[in-house]
């Protein structure tokens, strides 16, 4: 019975991880948090005034890690006060979300006012329109991370021998580093530079020349998130989910030693799959023409 329960929990963790990963990436896209933020920051300096949200509190892993730790700490305190589980998970994520929204607002205002030299205005409608979206996505992310960590520390058998706040920190940092390594490419290399042809990297010479116009009027980060939710976000979710799922699943099914061998085989199969898609992409897209 134990293994059946554990399998169900691990499958459920994988599912929650998809949601966490997807919304974490979309939150970072709508707020221009991570690596592509440099381009949004650079745009006014070369004369591209924009209505995109611009926030970089810190690197994505550290931001998500910090917020998840706050959520986990509040949850841990509420658990010791013996509140019901669902209420604890909701309340703790809400507290962390509120802090993230305050940081986002102050970070946006600070960043934009620092660009007054280049005549970049601070739009209050951008602030009003984006903050609820940021709050919603952050809440879903933090709720998912806290639930995931709760399952790991309290429900799994054997459970992870680490306390809840530390597990939420671990999950937050891992998710942040995956979000910045996978989902950001779709935002930075494709959506920000949609005014250039599809199927090419971004040359250094065009840095900062981002698309500021949308189909109807100025482009806002809501347009960005609609675009990224079709590919970049779900891919990040899937990536995080596979990592969480595999890290637990291999030991459940193959035992401890068998799990290690299975893990190595899985890693090798990813390598082969990677080579296959690399080959396929080269055959399909062909060589670049020299200019």
């Amino acid at each position: 019975m134990d293994i059946l329960l554990n399998m169900m929990l691990v499958a459920f963790m994988g599912l929650i991880a998809i949601i966490a990963g997807m919304f974490e990436d979309l939150e970072s896209d709508v707020a221009s948090t991570s690596n592509p933020n440099s381009q949004v920051q650079l745009a006014p300096e070369i004369g591209n005034l924009h209505k995109l949200f611009n926030r970089a509190i810190s690197g994505e892993p550290l931001l998500v890690g910090t917020m998840a730790t706050i959520s986990g700490t509040v949850a841990y305190v509420l658990f010791t006060l013996e509140y019901p589980v669902i209420l604890v998970l909701l309340l703790s994520s809400l507290v962390a979300t509120m802090i993230q929204v305050v940081w986002s607002a102050s970070s946006y205002m600070g960043r934009i006012t620092s660009q007054a030299l280049y005549n970049q205005p601070l739009f209050l409608d951008v602030l009003k329109k984006h903050l609820p979206v940021i709050a919603a996505f952050a809440f879903i992310t933090l709720f998912s991370i806290t639930t995931l960590s709760y399952i790991m520390t309290y429900l799994l058998n054997p459970a992870v021998p680490i306390t809840l706040p530390v597990v939420t920190m671990l999950m937050g940092i891992t998710l942040g580093s995956i979000g910045s390594a996978v989902g950001d490419i779709h935002y930075g290399a494709e959506k920000l530079y949609q005014n250039y042809e599809f199927g090419s990297g971004t040359p250094v010479s065009v840095n900062g020349n981002i698309a500021t116009k949308s189909a109807l009027g100025s482009r806002s980060s809501i347009d960005v998130v609609k675009f990224c939710s079709k590919f970049g976000g779900p891919m990040t979710g899937l990536c995080f989910s596979i990592i969480i799922f595999l890290n637990f699943w291999i030991y459940l099914v193959f035992g401890k030693i068998g799990g290690l061998i299975a893990g190595l085989i899985i890693v090798l199969s990813f390598l082969i799959f990677n080579t296959l898609i690399e080959r396929k992409a080269r055959l399909k897209y062909g060589k670049y023409e020299k200019k």
Binding site: N35, S38, Q39, G59, E60, P158, V160, P161, I162, T163, V166, L170, I173, T174, G176, S177, S180, A181, V182, G183, D184, I185, H186, G188, A189, L192, S200, G201, T202, P203, V204, N207, F231, G232, M235, C239, I243, L246, F248, Y251, K256, I257, G259, L260, G263, L264, I266, V267, F270, L271, N274, T275, I277, E278, R279, A281, R282, Y285, Y288, K291
Partner: protein, 235 residues
């Protein structure tokens, strides 16, 4: 006993530092498809990788030490391989560029020419097979290093302190993660920008000073760690 801890911490931290050099890191330019490699900073991806390894090792507390250490390496390898694979998937299907790098002419494993597939004005995009393999080696070394640190700290705490398994596990996790934070930042300062794994010319220039500086910083850090843990046990 404390001397053993010192030695294993030095070995662990040095392995992490050497491992970071193997990981193909593209930094922020890679997120714009301007440069090849994993599109985030070296410390960021190393932290993510190290955490997965330490978490895997922490799940094996009832097993012999060598199983804990290998499981840390496997956890890190799974994390980095899935991340690199998905990063490539987004590059290929989201941006429409084949993985290639201008840092070397030909991929020695697959034999793929690089220069013709690099879009004009960029230094490459995505993670070619040789860099992928280098990333796996890096994560293996980093995972082993992290789990050596975790295992040695956990074992000394569990034999000397009457704490619960969770308390010892948490202390050991935080200590071993801090190693990742410090050593990864150190190594990434040495790399300075992007690196495409062991086949890159830059790797050959950077690995020796990187290893020596990681060894030095590991020695200093480990000394502090031993002091702190000595205080925890005898304080």
């Amino acid at each position: 006993m404390l001397f053993e801890l010192l030695i294993s911490l030095i070995i662990g931290a040095t392995l992490i530092g050497v491992g970071v050099h193997f990981i193909p890191v593209g930094g922020a330019p890679a997120a714009l498809s301007t440069s090849a490699g994993i599109p985030t900073g070296a410390p960021m991806i190393t932290m993510g990788m190290g955490i997965t390894g330490v978490l895997s090792a922490a799940m094996m507390l009832d097993q012999p030490y060598y199983v804990m250490i290998v499981s840390g390496a496997v956890g890190s390898m799974i994390m980095i391989s899935v991340t690199m694979l998905f990063s490539n998937l987004v590059h290929i299907y989201g941006v429409g560029v084949p993985p290639s790098s201008s840092n070397f002419e030909k991929d020695p494993i697959t034999g793929f020419e690089q220069e013709d597939y690099v879009s004009p004005g960029t230094k490459g995009h995505g993670i070619p097979t040789i860099s992928f393999i280098s990333g796996l080696i890096g994560s293996f070394l980093g995972g082993i290093g992290g789990s050596i640190a975790f295992t040695s700290i956990y074992s000394i705490l569990s034999t000397n302190l009457h704490n619960s398994m969770i308390t010892n596990g948490t202390i050991a996790t935080i200590f071993s993660l801090l190693l990742f934070f410090i050593v990864a930042v150190m190594a990434s300062y040495n790399i300075r920008g992007t690196i495409q794994g062991f086949h890159d010319e830059k790797f050959k220039q950077k690995i020796l000073p990187g290893t020596i500086s990681c060894l030095l910083i590991a020695a200093v850090l480990s000394l502090f760690y031993v002091l702190i843990i000595w205080g925890l046990i005898n304080g």
